[in-house]
């Protein structure tokens, strides 16, 4: 075969797959050991983190690529004049990981590792009847991680679709597996939304293919749709003397596109459908409705996974498309602007009303999704980098917040109530500090400098395109967002009422005592890792920004 395979490059994808297989094997061999699957999954995700590191330092346009199709192979699929044209094709690869991709992969793997730490099974089993829960969860988590890692590096619609689905399907199962009635409701809503979205996604891919004639999500493919003469499929070949356009059809190789703008229209519809299909995963309004239900139904670590790894997968997928489209020099996408504005506004307004912290974070995810895609109104390197930057800032902040919630839930059963965090500053100063940092970072206020820098970065492309209305909407939403997070923080910093705190304490103590200390330690370790990353990037945001080039 004329496809090159470079395993060294592929490690970030292979490691989680290997972990997945290992979990299955381990479950066969020692089905009783409940923590083994998680240990393997944890190790695998950390190994994934390590595997992505070589890709981080790539500068400029360089990328670590594999599954590259040599020109000859491309030509073999076509014939005649097309072959001659194909010889000029730059090498196309199905896996192409540059710095941006690697960073997203790293973030996903790190977030997955933290989520696994948070989901660490304790000695007291929640579902004694269900013995297979842990290995299944580990497998599903690793599969979703695999999908995320692969989709970020994919450059063709086939891999893209499969990987995206690989990142989505396990999550549906994970939500359902939380085993509560609300989880089933959440899973149902997530399921139907994802099914329809996936159908639209496939439709979008088909339109892309129809418009460009290329199965690759590359700038060349995008260019071939709109240019009168190009390297793609529906391109005019130079007309020889005596030839007419009608005779060009059929086997001649270079077919006629009646109007380039038609093809561009098809392409635009394709891109919009892809955006919509991915938008569901990003929780963009109006594709967001599943978010609060699924988040609150799922267990907290899974919700954290949905809020972080899934988002990375979605944005990574979107970026793959938009990086291709960016070559068209398309001016701002009004669609994205509208979606961003809607998401921010609705997400913030709804988050303002929540008394359940997980639901609050769910709606905050919706709002933050708006911020994440907002820079993409400028389909350019600037916008794409900004979007990725904001995503990472958001992922870190959300992860820490979820970690605090998860750890708190292990200590007190009412840990999902906003009131459970009253006086946290006085009871658990360090954890409260982490929460403060996370929430301020999400709100875009110091001391969460990274969130603030994220807002600066996210607004820059909007400004560069001159979208004042969107910038103003964003500014207003920054305010509502601050109200949302301060509402939580308000309780955290308040001195506890002496009565309630004293009553709560013994409960906490006994609950904590019954829980396995190891479980808490691992969860805490996850929290500490996430918080440490947050602190570091808050002190020196450049570390994060430079990762993205």
């Amino acid at each position: 075969m004329s496809v090159s395979v470079d395993v060294a490059v592929l490690w970030p994808a292979l490691v989680p797959i290997a972990g997945l297989v290992l979990v299955l094997v381990a479950d066969l061999v020692v089905p009783r050991l409940r923590r083994v699957p998680y240990a393997i999954a944890g190790v695998a995700s950390i190994a994934t983190v390590v595997a992505t590191i070589p890709g981080l330092g790539l500068g400029g346009g360089s990328a670590r690529s594999t599954f590259c199709i040599s020109a000859a192979a491309g030509a073999s699929g076509a014939s005649g004049a097309a072959g001659a044209v194909a010889a000029d094709l730059p090498q196309t690869c199905l896996w192409q990981a540059d710095a941006l991709t690697s960073t997203l992969q790293l973030a996903a793997a790190l977030a997955a590792a933290v989520c696994i730490a948070l989901a660490w099974p304790g000695a007291s089993r929640r579902r004694p009847a269900d013995a297979t829960s842990e290995p299944v969860e580990a497998v599903l988590l690793l599969a979703a991680l695999t999908g995320t890692v692969v989709v970020a590096a994919s450059r063709d619609v086939g891999t893209w679709l499969v990987a995206l689905e690989l990142a989505t399907l396990p999550v549906i199962a994970l939500v359902a597996l939380s085993g509560r009635r609300s989880a089933v409701a959440g899973a149902t809503q997530l399921l139907v939304t994802s099914l329809v979205s996936f159908a639209l996604l496939v439709l979008g891919v088909a339109l892309w293919f129809a418009a460009t004639g290329s199965p690759f999500l590359t700038p060349d493919a995008a260019l071939s749709s709109g240019r009168a003469q190009g390297v793609g499929w529906f391109s005019y070949a130079p007309l020889g003397p005596g030839e007419t356009a009608t005779t060009m059809s059929g086997a001649a190789g270079a077919t006629v596109v009646a109007w380039p703008s038609v093809s561009a229209g098809v392409l635009s519809l394709g891109v919009v459908l892809l955006l919509a299909g991915v938008g569901f995963k990003l929780s963009l309004v109006p594709f967001h409705a599943w978010t609060p239900t699924a988040y609150s139904g799922a267990s907290t670590p899974i919700a954290a996974f949905l809020a972080t790894v899934s988002k990375v997968a979605a944005l990574a997928a979107l970026l793959v498309v938009l990086r291709a489209v960016a070559a068209l020099g398309t001016p701002a996408l009004i669609t994205i602007g509208v979606l961003a504005a809607l998401s921010m506004t609705l997400g913030n307004l709804m988050a303002l009303r929540q008394d359940d912290v997980v639901r609050l974070l769910a709606w905050s995810t919706v709002a933050q999704a708006g911020w994440v895609v907002m820079p993409l109104v400028s389909v350019s390197a600037l916008g794409i980098g900004a979007s990725a930057t904001y995503l990472l800032a958001y992922v870190i902040g959300t992860l820490v917040a979820f970690a605090v919630v998860a750890v708190t839930l292990r200590e007190r059963p009412d840990g999902r109530d906003l009131t459970a965090y009253d006086g946290l500053w006085h009871r658990k100063p360090w954890r409260a500090g982490a929460l403060v940092l996370a929430l301020t970072s999400l709100a875009g206020l110091p001391p969460g400098i990274i969130g603030l820098v994220g807002k600066v970065v996210a607004l820059r492309p909007v400004i560069a395109e001159g979208w004042v209305w969107l910038a103003v909407v964003a500014a207003v939403n920054a305010v509502i967002g601050v109200a949302v997070y301060l509402r939580w923080l308000r309780g955290v910093i308040t001195a506890p009422e002496p009565t309630s705190a004293d009553e709560a304490l013994p409960v906490t103590a006994t609950t904590a005592a019954t829980l396995a200390t190891e479980q808490r330690r691992v969860a805490l370790a996850g929290l500490v890792v996430a918080a440490a990353v947050l602190v570091v990037v808050s002190v020196q945001p450049d570390l994060l920004l430079r990762l993205l080039g």
């Binding site: 409701a185 959440g186 149902t188 809503q189 139907v192 939304t193 329809v196 979205s197 639209l200 561009a264 229209g265 635009s268 519809l269 891109v271 919009v272 459908l273 955006l275 919509a276 569901f280 309004v285 109006p286 594709f287 409705a289 599943w290 609060p292 239900t293 398309t330 001016p331 996408l333 009004i334 669609t335 509208v338 979606l339 609705l346 307004l349 709804m350 303002l352 009303r353 509502i480």
Partner: protein, 648 residues
């Protein structure tokens, strides 16, 4: 030489500071206050003898204010020398007198320090060669007047009077500030010399001059700002003497004298000044006649006299200039200080300031009788006292102005002056007859004790809202201050030094004319006018003598009682102030209401809207999968249409 000028300004300030720090040690405080004033008086004397005739004495250095020049220079010339001397002497006399007068006051230290600070303000204004410094001195006096008038802060009337004085003058200062700003803008500098020599910008000049007149009207008590001054009698008598004699109220005359060359060229502004001054001098003299309280009578006489100075400035021909007005300023400083200190002395003896209570109390008090007699005579313009010469100079100057092209404006002033001469003589004669005619000869009083008489009409007058700007003050409440004071501290014989201070002022009232020779043109008596006014004075005095049945009756009782009551209350000027105050308060309440219900309604409405939207959103997000599909597909179709149509 320039250091003397600086010291004249700085020393009282230091005295104020030191006095404040040493307020607990009564003797030390008195020593500082009197010593410093004495030293300043000496320095002022030196300056008077040998003025430096320079206008660029550095004070605190030039300010970096961009294009605007603010050199902050001081000056020293004959004018400043004369006025500074008068001020310094009066302040010294007052400080000496205060040491006795407030002998038992626990806050004597603060009072003396405030008087020193007040002197700083006036002397700074006198020595300033810069508009900003003039404004600084001007406002310092305003602030100190608030402190001094409100010295007896236990008494609500005193607080109100102080408040009223400051607010009224401050409102007028709107004009002063705007005027000075306009003058500075016109010259691009605040330096006095530059301002005087600048040209062009007629609008700025008009605004500047009119603005300064408004400011002066406030401080000098011209109509319609006059009503604060009688109320200011709530302050201890030395404070009244200070405010009325040489300093605050006269400062306006000085400022206009400084700017005279500008006014001389601007008829409009001078006409305004002439009208205000003429109206005030006659009106105030009329009111003075009707007063039932000695101090309030003196206050109205001050209004009248200050108006005379300003009238002189309004009517004087450019070649004569401001000198007659300044002459009268100095004269007034001496005799009015004398009168006030005498009144203070008398009140200590008599335990009251109401004329009814004082009837005949002057009889047989020796030096005090002489002092008050001299003061009233000077006020009335009896030769050869200083008041006669200066008033006559003013009249003569005005007549010259009228004949020399001043036109209607100057004639108005001349007529008003003659009317005022008559009226002044009338009320002076009335006061003298009341004070000096032994009680035995007088008819029995119907009112009973002053306490009961005044106490009854107070409550209706002082019901004011907390927020009101202006305050109603009972016409007779100044008297209460003395009554209380004497009630609290008892009678005490005057000390030698205080008596000496009064005597010095009396001497200056007699011989002070000599000082005026230093200022060219200050003395400019005209034979005809002198004789005419003398005739008028004598006639008026005789009329009072006869009408009052040789002093056995109060001649003012012949005025119909309802008119007189209203005159005593200043014809409701205070009510008008209260009205203005209420109007402003109403606006303020409106502002607060708007602030709460309109300006702040937007943020609140935003919150309500956000909550409402959230509630609506909550209702539509109950986890119905079908609806989420609907939203999804509808959204897709919409954005697809949008995306396709907006592509490129």
């Amino acid at each position: 030489m320039s250091w003397i000028v600086r010291m004249i300004v700085v020393l009282p300030a230091l005295a104020a500071l030191a006095g404040l720090l040493a307020r607990r040690q009564r003797l030390l405080a008195a020593g500082i206050a009197i010593g410093m004033s004495a030293y300043v008086a000496v320095l002022a004397f030196i300056q008077w003898v040998a003025p430096a005739r320079t206008a660029d004495i550095e004070s605190i250095g030039r300010l970096s204010t961009g294009a605007l020049q603010v050199p902050l220079h001081l000056l020293s010339d004959r004018l400043s020398g004369l006025v500074a001397l008068a001020v310094a002497v009066v302040v010294l006399a007052i400080q000496v007198f205060t040491a006795w007068y407030l002998r038992d006051d626990p806050r004597y230290g603060q009072f003396a320090a405030t008087v020193s600070l007040f002197a700083t303000g006036m002397l700074l204004l006198v020595q300033a060669s810069d508009l900003v410094l003039i404004l600084v001195g001007w406002e310092i006096m305003g602030w100190c007047s608030w402190l001094l008038i409100g010295h007896d802060s236990q008494r609500p009337e005193a607080r109100r009077a102080a408040y009223k004085a400051f607010i009224v003058t401050r409102v007028a200062d709107i004009g002063m500030v705007v005027g000075l700003v306009a003058l500075a803008v016109r010259a691009g500098s605040t330096d006095l010399i530059t301002v005087l020599t600048a040209s062009g910008h007629d609008t700025a000049l008009t605004v500047g001059l009119v603005g300064v007149i408004i400011g002066v009207a406030g401080k000098s008590g011209l109509i319609p700002f006059h009503d604060w001054l009688p109320d200011a009698m709530e302050g201890p008598t030395p404070a009244s003497a200070l405010i009325h004699a040489a300093t605050m109220v006269a400062a306006g005359s000085y400022v206009i004298a400084r700017l005279f060359s500008l006014y001389a060229s601007h008829d409009g502004a001078r006409t305004l000044l002439a009208v205000l001054a003429s109206a005030t001098m006659v009106y105030a003299a009329l009111l003075a006649f009707a007063q039932t309280d000695l101090k309030r009578m003196l206050a109205y006489s001050t209004l009248s006299q200050i108006a005379i100075m300003l009238a002189a400035l309004a009517a004087a021909p450019p070649d004569i200039g401001f000198a007659p007005a300044i002459g009268h300023l100095v004269a007034h400083a001496f005799f009015k200080a004398l009168l006030f200190l005498g009144a203070g002395w008398l009140s200590v003896l008599a335990g009251a300031t109401a004329l009814a209570a004082l009837r005949g109390r002057l009889h047989g008090t020796g030096a005090l009788r002489w002092s008050i007699g001299l003061g009233l005579a000077a006020l009335a313009g009896v030769p050869p006292l200083i008041g006669f010469f200066t008033k006559d100079s003013v009249i003569e100057t005005s007549i010259e102005g009228a004949t020399g092209g001043g036109g209607a404006r100057a004639w108005l002033v001349v007529v008003a002056l003659f009317v005022t001469v008559v009226l002044t003589a009338t009320y002076c004669a009335r006061a003298w007859l009341l004070l000096d005619t032994p009680l035995a000869a007088a008819e029995p009083q119907s009112g009973g004790s002053p306490n009961a008489a005044t106490g009854s009409d107070v409550p209706e007058a002082v019901v004011v809202a907390e927020e009101d700007l202006a305050v109603v003050t009972a016409a007779d409440s100044a008297d209460d201050a003395e009554v209380e004071r004497v009630h609290a501290h008892g009678h005490a014989p005057i000390t030698l030094s205080a008596a000496l201070a009064v005597a010095t002022l009396a001497a200056l009232t007699v011989f002070g004319t000599l000082l005026l020779f230093s200022l060219t043109g200050a003395l400019k008596p005209g034979i005809v006018s002198a004789l005419l006014s003398l005739l008028l004075v004598v006639g008026a005095a005789y009329a009072v003598w006869t009408l009052s049945d040789r002093g056995r009756h109060d001649v003012a009782d012949r005025v119909p009682s309802h008119v007189r009551d209203r005159a005593v209350r200043g014809f409701g000027a205070d009510t008008a102030y209260v009205g203005v105050g209420r109007a402003v308060t109403a606006v303020a309440r409106l502002v607060v209401a708007l602030d709460r219900d309109v300006v702040d309604a937007y943020p609140r409405a935003t919150v309500v809207a956000a909550r409402g939207l959230g509630r609506v959103g909550e209702r539509s997000h109950r986890g119905v999968p079908s609806l989420s599909l609907l939203a999804l597909l509808a959204g897709v179709v919409v954005i697809a249409v949008l995306g396709v149509t907006a592509w490129r």
